[in-house]
């Protein structure tokens, strides 16, 4: 079966055919299945935001083809329109794009564009608000009267209300405090479990990527540098560093301990798991008389 999203030999250049031409995406091919939870990492300017803008036709590839649900999205107006609804894109600081009189109207903007009837729009607004953690009492207030974190959730709900088969979030937790960040990442994991929608998470936080995703795609110089499981990608510490990236701090500690000869696994991404492993290792070593 074909993947839900399939990108074949896609390139994209800014300022094409000028002296300043920048090849932001270079001959990239990749597929993402329905229901997958994928992380995309890459330094600023690596081409990752350009890449995700190609997923639903916000940008037109200079070369190559993008298929959503088996259809070439650039085939005609209808396929392009469908791809916009099937792949929901939520950009960095999406709360800057809130504009309606009430939160409810803002969330309804996407479904309204889909020409759904009022009852269906209402159903979707309530469901998306619930999924995104927008408080019911906030639905009828102005989006400018709620806090920054609440605005962020309202904006994300607006994309969820289109009920896309794939939700793409570019740095959804940027600028949030540690609690806000972990709550938001948890909300996204829940969203994926409850809806079965594919989720693509673009982030500079290696901790969030390790915690939330199952597959990681690393973009460097407009190309896919690594693509595999979280374990596979974060085993490449030196390569990631050379690309301006990193691995989670706790994982780094385990890599160092392993280098020192301790019998610890390399694939540890959470402090909880680290504590379990080290406590039982300490007990084992004690009982071995070491």
């Amino acid at each position: 079966m074909n993947p839900f999203l399939e990108i074949k030999n896609v390139s994209y250049s800014y300022m094409k055919n000028t002296a300043q031409q920048v090849n932001a995406v270079n001959n990239v091919s990749l597929g993402i299945d329905r229901g997958e939870m994928v992380g995309i990492i890459g330094h600023t300017g690596s081409g990752k935001s350009t890449l995700v803008s190609l997923f639903n036709g916000l940008l037109k590839p200079s070369l190559g083809t993008v298929y959503v649900d088996g259809k070439d999205i650039w085939e005609n107006k209808e396929t392009l329109r469908e791809s916009r609804f099937n792949v929901g894109l939520c950009f960095q600081y999406p709360e800057y794009q809130l504009f309606e009189e009430t939160v409810r109207k803002d969330i309804a903007f996407g479904p309204k564009n889909m020409k759904l009837d009022d009852a269906e729009i209402e159903r979707r607004v309530l469901r998306a608000a619930e999924l995104a953690g927008v408080k019911p009492k906030h639905l009828d207030v102005s989006p400018f009267d709620i806090s920054g974190g609440e605005k962020r959730r309202a904006a994300i709900a607006g994309v969820m209300a289109m009920e896309p088969d794939m939700l793409v979030l570019d740095e959804p937790a940027a600028g949030l405090d540690p609690r806000g960040r972990s709550d938001l990442i948890e909300m996204i994991k829940q969203y994926r479990e409850r809806t079965g929608s594919a989720v693509v998470l673009v982030s500079h936080s290696m901790e969030d990527i390790a915690r939330a995703t199952e597959r990681v795609i690393v973009i460097n110089n407009g190309e896919i540098a690594l693509d595999g499981s979280v374990d596979y990608v974060f085993a490449h510490e030196e390569e990631l560093k050379s690309m301006g990236l990193n691995i989670p701090e706790v994982t780094k500690v385990f890599h160092r301990l392993k280098e020192l000869g301790f019998d610890v696994p390399p694939d540890v991404y959470s402090v909880d798991r680290a504590v379990d492993i080290l406590t039982s290792l300490a007990e084992r070593r004690k009982s071995d008389g070491k």
Binding site: L257, L260, V275
Partner: protein
């Protein structure tokens, strides 16, 4: 003796909209007392809405306190004129690199501040060159800012403050929008400014790994200062930090939860502490 640079005395601050009485608005800051000393590197932590950005904006007289006084190097921020004088001493760098670059060429952007201060052109040239060298952006002095990475843009913004020869720089979440390398570049620049050039640094951040690099950490919640101490004392109190929506760096949390007494703040000391916890190294 340590010399005070910024003195915040009984300061409260309220945002209020037209028509709303000042007294009814909930205060962003309540009765803050705080001294910042010359040459210090102070990190300010707090969840979104805790009042830390408001505090930052009081330090360089973008805001005047609703009640109480803010004094910078003997100047009180209670008039336009004094505000100008304070901003010559305390510069500010904001979160979004794209909102604070004004010129179309890197070196022109750095020159913007000193030009506004009426500095002599030859002196501006000298200051711009030296500030760009301080932030390692001299080789890119004739680039267009929009072609730079986020970390490079933030370093240009910092150079702009250095070129004004301020005594203190306040940075409000300068790395929130940057990738890991950009964050490291900016942090290295901040530390160099502080240690080598003696510039006082106030860093507002959500990244605990950045706060551990300061000399002193201030924790805010609901417009009040909750804690004010060294990084090792602050980060040994996970419960306090979590109660205020904050966290501790992963290596620190790991060692604390293993019952390791010493507070570790970085990966290297964490590895050393765990080696001895496990009964010495293997070699």
């Amino acid at each position: 003796m340590r010399e005070k640079l910024i003195e915040i005395k009984n300061v409260s601050y309220s945002y209020y909209t037209d028509g709303e009485e000042e007294a009814t608005a909930s205060p962003a800051l309540s009765d803050i007392n705080l001294d910042i000393f010359k040459g210090e590197f102070v990190a300010v932590l707090g969840h979104n809405g805790s009042g830390k950005s408001t505090l930052a904006k009081l330090c360089n007289a973008i805001f005047e306190p609703s009640t109480g006084t803010v004094t910078v190097d003997g100047i009180t921020s209670d008039s336009e004129e004094n505000g100008d004088a304070i901003r010559r001493k305390v510069g500010m760098v904001f979160q979004n690199p794209d909102n604070q670059i004004v010129a179309t060429i890197v070196e022109d952007d750095v020159a913007f501040g000193p030009e506004n201060l009426g500095v002599d052109p030859a002196e501006i040239r000298r200051r711009v060159d030296s500030a760009l060298k301080d932030v390692n952006m001299y080789d890119m002095r004739d680039r267009e800012p929009h072609n730079l990475s986020g970390g490079q843009k933030q370093r240009v913004a910092i150079a702009g403050v250095i070129a004004m020869q301020t005594e203190c720089i306040v940075l409000d979440e300068p790395t929130a929008m940057l990738d890991p390398m950009g964050r490291a570049e900016v942090m290295n620049t901040i530390k160099r400014m502080n240690k080598e050039m003696g510039i006082t640094v106030i860093l507002v951040t959500h990244f605990m790994e950045e706060a551990v690099q300061a000399d002193r950490v201030i924790v805010m919640d609901s417009g009040r200062i909750i804690a004010d101490d060294t990084p090792s004392n602050i980060f040994s109190d996970i419960e306090m930090l979590k109660a205020h929506s904050l966290s501790v760096p992963e290596p620190t949390e790991l060692c604390l939860r293993l019952g390791i007494k010493e507070t570790v703040l970085d990966t290297d000391s964490c590895v050393r502490a765990i080696s001895s916890y496990l009964g010495g190294d293997m070699t």
